[in-house]
């Protein structure tokens, strides 16, 4: 590989990493979805995880959110080693996740979905407080949701994404993980989500963002961690890396389908035979 990975100091300068993964391995039967993956996230930092289909991005999210337990490896959170074996563990630590499939209950309304598992007043639900807080959150995200008392089934894809992101902020998290947050969104909503990610960074959250979209990654991420076939394939500072170099790391070669294609297009533009 042409580009050497840049292992750099965290941008907060000495506050240390909120979250550090070392040697995370996850196997499903004979298939190793993740092998020896390392990852660091600092306060106020956006780390993008990129990789091809099947690179292990979603598996990594599931390990961090407690959906799958890692086969081996250590997770250090705020300086102490932790095990995350259930989603409730992750929530307690302060790792909030927005899943790619959003994980919303379609039969429940917006307020019920936002507060699912963390309702105010377990034995006597405080509907008013929950609805007020819901509107606060949704306004903060400039959400375009007409009413919070309709079932999520009747919301559009973008509206559902907003509900899922709003939900992740409820438990006062330290790390917010977004799995393909802009995949289903329109132009304006994508910009909103990117703004939101920057706001999360300003408020000192560590943000892990998984994306296929290089433009989004380069717009908001501080560092990019590349996964390839379940292994680390370099960590780059966004300011130092070009799209081509990222693609090379993702596909594992500087001579790949994407560069061949752009070379061909460049040749056509110059009027030469392809």
């Amino acid at each position: 590989m042409a580009t050497a990975p840049v292992m750099e100091q965290d941008r907060t300068g000495g506050t240390g990493h909120v979250l550090s993964l070392r040697g995370i391995t996850k196997t499903f039967g004979a298939v190793a979805a993740l092998t020896d993956v390392d990852l660091d996230v600092a306060r106020g930092e956006v780390v993008a995880i990129v990789g091809d289909n099947g690179a292990g991005k979603s598996t990594l999210v599931k390990v961090l959110s407690g959906v799958h337990a890692p086969t081996s490896g250590t997770i250090t959170f705020e300086g102490s080693e932790v095990t995350i074996s259930t989603p409730a563990d992750a929530q307690r630590l302060g790792i909030a996740t927005v899943f790619q499939d959003l994980a919303l209950c379609e039969n429940l309304n917006v307020v019920e979905n936002l507060f699912l598992g963390q309702e105010i007043g377990p034995a006597r639900l405080d509907e008013v407080a929950m609805e007020v807080k819901s509107w606060e959150l949704l306004r903060e995200l400039s959400a375009k949701i007409p009413t919070v008392r309709i079932p999520v089934a009747s919301l559009s894809g973008g509206q559902r994404q907003t509900v899922a992101i709003a939900r992740s902020l409820l438990g006062d998290p330290k790390i917010v993980m977004l799995d393909e947050p802009t995949a289903a969104l329109g132009v304006a909503q994508t910009a909103e989500v990117l703004n939101l990610i920057e706001r999360l960074r300003e408020r000192g959250f560590g943000v892990i963002m998984i994306s296929h979209n290089m433009a989004d990654v380069q717009a908001v991420a501080d560092r990019v961690a590349v996964l390839r076939l379940g292994r680390n394939n370099g960590v780059f500072r966004v300011s130092d890396v070009s799209s081509e170099e990222l693609v090379a790391a993702i596909t594992g070669a500087s001579d790949n389908v994407v560069t061949q294609r752009s070379a061909r297009r460049g040749a056509i533009a110059k009027g030469e035979p392809a």
């Binding site: 959110s65 959906v67 259930t86 989603p87 409730a88 929530q91 996740t97 899943f99 959003l102 994980a103 919303l104 209950c105 379609e106 039969n107 429940l108 019920e112 699912l116 598992g117 963390q118 309702e119 377990p122 034995a123 006597r124 639900l125 509907e127 008013v128 407080a129 609805e131 007020v132 509107w135 949701i145 007409p146 009413t147 919070v148 008392r149 309709i150 079932p151 999520v152 089934a153 009747s154």
Partner: protein, 424 residues
């Protein structure tokens, strides 16, 4: 209605529009009672029928059966009908919980039969106190539920199969418990039998309860509306709250007055009603209730939200089997006997049909405690009416089957309508 009744939320000044009504795409309906009625109309057109089909069905059944036999709507028959609803109604209430998490329990009949047998054996044969006998009977239900929950969660056997096995096994256990006698009569002068057969509320108490219910409904609604206004959310107007409460007091009061001409309302029915109200509270106003709906709607989403899904499944099974055992105790008390037929025949299917007719979805995530009450009223009305007409159980089975199919068919049509109008 005068202008002063309209809540602040719907005043035309933009500055005072409630937080939840600010989106310009929301149709700003009229406030107060007129708005509430208009909202109901649009909900029905959107396929959100609520309890309307069941109530309409009850009215039709009442009119038809009354025209066939003038005894049907007599006070004496109605109070008997209400008491007959209770045992299977309690079982149906339990079924609502397992249906909410998209599971099923086919063994509730056998469990109620076993419970009845245990009650009779401990109370009559062994001469234990009635409290202990009830505790043993209900405790058997709790244990069976715990067993179901463990098998479901740890081994992963579908609830359909677990409860089908339970249906056979506990029917067998019931026969074994009853022994060679096959039937045990409960003494007619025991408190339990009196409770189920002979004890009716005094007139003053029944009116006081109706009044308290109406005032309680208004008070909770008013308190909620005040809290919402304080948080600048839209709220139901005081007038429509008052109208609702007065309507409840007048309608239920008139019904109670009619029954009080005869013996009145049986205590056992009051017990059932209280149970329904408690379960309604649990389902709508507690974290546990929300987790049942969440697991029924999307179990994986519930798990990722940090809900202990296994515990929710186990609780649903335990609640169902426990209520089935309570239903068995009440059935034995009502009959003043436990025998080999207790909990057999159509008890199982009537309980499930009642929950479904009342509006509980078989696919999980939709339903209410009132579904059990309304559903069992429909089923018992048919059963009672056809008995009055001296038609045997062959007709009863056929009519109940047709009504079940009609109810589920109506729900399916309504669901399609909900999907197209975005009400899910």
């Amino acid at each position: 209605m005068s202008g002063t009744d309209v809540e602040p939320a719907t005043e035309p000044t933009a500055a005072r529009v409630a937080t939840d009504l600010q989106d310009e795409r929301l149709s700003q309906g009229a406030g107060g009672l007129k708005g509430a009625l208009a909202g109901l109309g649009s909900r029905v057109r959107g396929g959100d029928l609520g309890v309307i089909p069941v109530v309409a069905g009850l009215v039709i059944i009442a009119v038809v059966l009354q025209s066939l036999n003038s005894q049907f709507l007599s006070a004496a028959n109605l109070e008997n009908l209400l008491l007959e609803c209770v045992p299977v109604g309690v079982i149906a209430l339990g079924i609502v919980f397992v249906l909410l998490v998209a599971e099923i329990d086919l063994s509730v009949g056998s469990i109620s039969g076993l419970s009845a047998a245990l009650l009779a054996v401990f109370y009559v044969d062994r001469g234990q106190s009635v409290v202990l006998a009830i505790a043993v009977a209900v405790g058997s239900g709790v244990l069976i539920g715990l067993l179901y929950g463990q098998i479901f969660n740890r081994i992963g056997v579908p609830s359909f199969v677990i409860s089908l096995a339970g249906l056979l096994a506990f029917a067998g256990l019931q026969l074994a418990v009853l022994g060679t006698k096959g039937a045990i009569n409960l003494p007619f002068d025991s408190a339990l039998v009196k409770f189920a057969q002979l004890q009716f509320m005094p007139d003053w108490l029944s009116y006081a309860l109706v009044l308290a219910g109406g005032i309680g409904l208004f008070a909770t609604g008013f308190a909620r509306a005040q809290a919402r206004r304080k948080a600048s959310l839209s709220a139901q107007s005081t007038v429509s709250l008052a109208v609702r409460s007065i309507a409840l007091i007048v309608l239920v009061g008139a019904f109670v007055a009619y029954l009080n001409d005869s013996r009145g309302i049986g205590y056992m029915f009051v017990f059932f009603l209280a149970l329904v109200l408690v379960m309604h509270y649990v389902l709508t106003r507690t974290k546990f209730g929300k987790s049942l709906f969440a697991v029924g709607g999307n179990a994986e989403a519930a798990r990722r939200a940090g809900i202990n899904v296994r515990r929710v499944y186990a609780s649903a099974f335990v609640l169902c089997t426990t209520l089935a055992a309570v239903g068995g105790v009440l059935a034995a008390a009502r009959l003043a006997a436990a025998n080999q037929q207790s909990g057999g025949g159509d008890v199982n299917l009537n309980a499930i049909a009642a929950a479904v007719i009342g509006g509980t979805s078989l696919f999980g995530g939709r339903g209410s405690a009132f579904a059990a009450l309304l559903g069992i009223l429909v089923i018992q009305s048919i059963s009672n009416g056809l008995t009055l007409l001296s038609l045997d159980s062959s007709y009863r089975f056929m009519v109940t089957g047709a009504v079940l199919l009609l109810a589920v068919g109506l729900d399916s049509v309504a669901r399609r309508s909900r999907a197209s109008s975005g009400r899910a």
